[in-house]
Point group: D5
């Protein structure tokens, strides 16, 4: 069994149980964005988390060690992504990518935002003109250092 | 003169003057991320802003009407981007793209974050482990609506 | 079972029953272009619609919850599309894409036609020189708004 | 001088004169979408139209015969297009391409919508929820015929 | 069963029976190039033809309705094609594509050769220097007509 | 001066003189498809032909030796071609490529149609339903021979 | 059973029997490079050869007619090839491709080396500095001939 | 001046002088395939050779040091190559690439033919059926050795 | 059974046994980077090593001869790689590729680092600022030699 | 003047002066690999270094501020690289990329080698079998840390 087969089995178990990511994350006591990424094959779970999850979702036991392996990361089937919800993030990157670089360079000097010492947050904000999605990418600044 | 020639002339003027984006934005009274994007060819300036900018940066007069045209958007020379600062944003999209979709779907239902009714913020945050880059993508939620 | 397996099962059921999209849409009381897209894996059906459909087409019960999930959108196997019927739409985009942008900009200012608050209509019109296909893309105008 | 140099010269003349496509089309007595496409290098103008246009826009005389040549068509710099206004049309094709084929096949049998005996219309419609963009692709149906 | 599975079953039946395309076409009373394309998944057969074919080739009954569906066209696994026999046609297009356009434009004006009201013929001609392949592409001229 | 600059100069000379390919070919006593391809940079002219052409079209003398060199062949800017007139030939290849291979194999055995001992003809045929374009690709059969 | 399944079965039979290509070619009385290519799916075997091979390698009988069909040629999974042994040939083409063209043109005039009336030889040569690989591509010269 | 500008100047000088590669190679006392590759930008000349060449071809003096630099290798504008003479080599690689690997592995064990300790020869051979092109790729065998 | 199926079976056996590469390499008395590459399908094992491994990991017997075959090399599913750990090596190549070439040329003259007479080492180094990864690519210098 | 024009001017100055990277680095008191990368457009120089360099190489003064800007990184014209010296590094990545990931994961856990807190060394080592190239990639380990 490889990771994407394990991911598929978890997805089916989640559908049967009707469990949301937010709810599962609360029960496991972990960040929900991190858990969602882990369940989509982007992070390893530790053995205890994988076991807890199995109890909640009742997927087959052999899925557990696969979830605990460090995965080969990368979640997109194609780039640019064809799905509109994902494409809009790509569009922001396409339109504002050089802007982000210029502002990081202006505020911090030569370096990058880490994508490893990093977390992601997806938030819902109510405004008078309706709800807004707020996606926060938050990573350590790493200066170029030879 | 096309937009990318105009963009290049503004860039040279900025180098000669040593003006930062944050500083220019304050003088024009506009958001600095928006202005940076505009100067990089991703948004039109209105005629007054373009003229003000010309006074500050002293670029040639024929640049002004070009800056006021609605541009053909898209700032990246290649995808995936080769520059590490920009690549890390791409990596976040590559690793967390499906996560973002799942969480938007869980919190909002079927729909997208608008990239049009949208703003971007790049922030510097000091922490004990050093500065962090915080990139906020903030767009109106648009539900699928036939 | 993933969405494309569900789509295939619906297609086989439709072939067995000989049911047209127009007819199915009428029985479900929904727009036929929307339903066609949904059956091709581009929109979720709500639980009741999915159940009604199962009664009409007699596909296996486990298809129902899959049809009710929000799908990963994107219907084309390759771009440019190889099928001539779909290619002609691509050709219109290829030849007239910049024209459409210029006219939207001239009539509405800087912004886009939403593809989310959007509907599609395919119509048959009889003329003296034979039938014509009329494809109407109709979406809300969204002005760029920081 | 090749066609794209001619296109660029016309664009600069239009900027200098501040002439809209709709206005120019009325003065020439032609459809505005057709004229826009022609000015963007997608259709030949006849000699008289090219000459009339030169009088209105005052571009150099050697542009005239170039505008009268049958161009090498194709307006997009890249596919998928990076500009959001054009991308939304691409997204409609990406999401609804197979839907359009199925409905053409259901209504007309095996065949295509011509992209040659074809016209395009971009319309503005006011609704209570704000203006909508309506793009009409209208082409002769061509049945497969050996 | 999808179309390419049906195509494969027909191919195996043909191998078992040792039936040539020319022979099959004669028995069905149809053009052999058309039939070859149809058997390779590029055209629908009508119900009677599909049934006749089943009697000749003895493939399973459930193949019949699949052959009668309008297929998603496109026969090449990759472009440029790797197979030398198919590549030479591609090479002719690559070397003479612009020539064909110029000559169609010179003889007919602005327009195209239809690939829908179209037929194909592959002929063998004996010459003193050995046999020659003659491929005739024959399609209705369609003038650009707004 | 490289070949594509020479090609461009010939094209401008042809525009100034208003000379058609058919007419030029008759004056030079060569096949018009061959000449068109040669003028578009796909075949070398011999020195005498290049000189004759210079007298007819009055392009600069240094173009002559460039036209006499064996060119680097390939006429398409992109594949699939974006221009509809050229695309239809590509579509015929895309839809009927495997058909052509099967029929060559059935009529001739294992081998190819040469694209080198080869000629091309573009013909106009009047029919009751309007003019048809007939493109004849005619090449020597070459059997695989180790 | 398609050709690549047949190829795989032959490969497994060869592994079980431990038979080298050179040895098999001697027993069948054919050129070893030709046979290797045929076993890798690039040439058809005649019925007698396929049957002889079956006796030597003891693969299933239904493989025989598949080996006798004219295959769809093309042996590389990706280009540039990732395997270093194959890549070095690609590198020779990448570095010396234009050199080969210039020298063929200088020695023979305008034309090509046939890849159809063609054979390949791979030889081992012992030298003082160790063994050398000698790959000989040998094809008939075909002059361009309209 | 970069290498490709230098290459272009040498090519123009060669055209003016009408000097063949074989002839130039003899005068310089070097292998003609090596020299051809060098003149096409794939190998550095030593200072003396570059100077000798300048005397023979009379190109500008500043070309000399550029020819003596180690170039960035790679001679093909696109892969697959569009020019038929170069494509046939590519086709041989495409059809026989895996064959060459198998035979090198069978004769030498696990390793490669060096493309660095390597030479190329293009030969003309007269046969009863006309001239044949013989391309010899000859490189040292390098066994995998950790 | 092909090599990637064998690779998968070894991976599952390793997961069941919990054996690290370093440990396995010690037991077999081979370099751990070489063994890791071999287990990932990039090098053949000799028969004895494959057998020893089978005893340690208890995978099925028919895996053994497959591990002993010379593989088709190439370990990346896509380039650029999507996995961040692998991407950073790619980024080093992307940013420093020309630097490495210039320094090899400056230190050694015209030539390459062999990737065949080559070994790789991955080391962990403790520093005051935390552990560092040290990847050493070490290959024989091969001068260009005609 | 953009960065690649500045890079080209530095390269020409270096050719005129005949200055090696190692020598220049010593005079500036910086690491030679870092300086080489900087001169090839991959790192900014500080103002003093850029000025010192100008004195050594005598390039035009307006180059100085361009060298001091943070560049858009990425040194390869195409991937895979066509130049054999650079390709061998790519080949090492292609063959050993997954190996490196597995060993980093085994030695350090889940994380990456930083390409930012990173340095590169190219070394020459004499051995009995001739010189070897040793390329050391040395970066801080960054564990995944949410």
């Amino acid at each position: 069994m490889n990771r994407s087969e394990a991911t598929e089995l978890v997805r089916e178990a989640r559908r049967r149980k009707g469990s949301g990511y937010t709810d599962l994350a609360e029960r496991l006591g972990v960040d929900r964005a991190w858990l969602t990424a882990a369940l989509l094959g982007q992070h390893p779970l530790d053995a205890r988390q994988a076991e807890q999850l199995r109890e909640l979702l009742e997927f087959p036991e052999e899925v557990v060690p696969v979830l605990a392996e460090i995965p080969h990361r990368g979640s997109l089937e194609s780039v640019p992504p064809t799905d509109p919800t994902i494409y809009r993030i790509y569009e922001a990157l396409q339109v504002y990518g050089t802007t982000i670089k210029e502002l990081i360079n202006e505020d911090f000097g030569d370096g990058i935002m880490s994508a490893i010492t990093f977390n992601l947050d997806v938030q819902r904000q109510e405004t008078e003109e309706g709800p807004r999605v707020r996606i926060v990418l938050d990573g350590k600044f790493l200066p170029y250092k030879w």
